[in-house]
Symmetry: C2
Subunit: 213 residues, 2 copies
């Protein structure tokens, strides 16, 4: 329904590839300067030295434009084998933390709200971003099972929430400093390992009844 694919050109002037870059740069700049809510299409066009038509030819709506610019840049690396489950988790975690901390302030919450306001955007988000995340995560878990570190893989969705959630909460719910992210991620790796391995040994913690009332 949108003119996102320009591929089958049966003649006609081809798209200027430099325009896409100019739009993306303008969006990122303005996002940093005026914030998510105050970004206007007119400003993007002016900043990019481009007509509004050129923008709407590529992105059906303002929300899609921002989505495209922000999500396009996110290449969730394929997570090369780091040798151990712990190392793999730490690597993915660092990647996720970076992808959330690097956009201009307020960008991620704004984008998330727009995604939830438009079912089509939510589908694209699921297909483009979440799917890749799920894939790398199950990949890592399968690897750990193959290594013998895990007997049974845990629910990938639970693990995903456990990894991504605290990072998001740290930055956008609790508004804690990004500088302290490493401390959080290291704790997260421990937590994730604790979840994945059913129970290392006889730990003195299933003592729901030993404490006084």
């Amino acid at each position: 329904m949108s003119a996102r694919k320009q591929a089958r050109n049966q003649g006609g002037r081809p798209r200027d590839g430099r325009v896409d870059g100019a739009i993306a740069s303008a969006v990122l700049d303005l996002l940093a300067e005026v914030g998510y809510a105050r970004l206007t299409m007119g400003e993007v066009a002016a900043r990019a030295g481009v007509g509004k038509a050129a923008i709407y030819r590529r992105h059906a709506t303002k929300q899609e434009m921002i989505f495209d610019v922000l999500v396009q840049g996110q290449f969730l690396a394929v997570a090369p084998d780091r040798g151990s489950l712990r190392a793999d988790l730490a690597a993915v975690l660092a990647e996720i933390a970076d992808s959330m901390a690097s956009p201009p302030p307020g960008t991620v919450p704004g984008l998330l709200a727009d995604i939830h306001a438009d079912p089509a955007l939510l589908d694209r988000f699921d297909a483009k971003y979440l799917d890749a995340q799920r894939r790398t995560l199950t990949e890592i878990l399968d690897r750990a099972v193959a290594r013998g570190e895990l007997t049974t893989g845990p629910d990938p969705a639970v693990l995903n929430a456990l990894l991504v959630g605290p990072i998001f909460a740290w930055l956008f719910l609790l508004s804690e400093s990004p500088d302290q992210l490493p401390a959080l991620t290291s704790a997260l790796v421990d937590a994730a390992l604790a979840i994945t391995s059913p129970r290392p040994a006889a730990a003195p913690d299933d003592s729901d009844s030993e404490v006084a009332t």
Copy 2:
């Protein structure tokens, strides 16, 4: 700077308390019907059977209005002593999960975006919501230390992110079903306990260097 406090009335017609309720109901209804983004002040006024002036007399802006309506209803219970750290954590977790799952779909992300778009709102959010959350959490931790379940309390902020984050991610980042929330929360309690107690015993996991490249 806003006219939120009407207290010191030196004569004059007092506010009609029923108006506040009508506004709140209208906001919640419309949030459920048309979603966060498509909510308009005119509709709120019409639905509440109220003039727009009555709304702006109470809430300086649309964002503040929604914030007030949504956050006012959140009374983070004081977390009575459930006897064990595990039980206390489970109780708080259930409370948090409910407060996030109950508002109409899209409401929480929308509100979060607005909060991050306005520093004043973010301050109020911190003072009104986060502070209570921090307080109950440290309370629970202190209790556990007093019980002897913990030697040293962990960073409350980290624990907070670990509890709230996955719930949020489950619902609004991964778009998983709210029905499966209990499974997540139970896993979260385990993870939190694993974080709080430094290390139960010699676990076979700090093997970062033993594996081949």
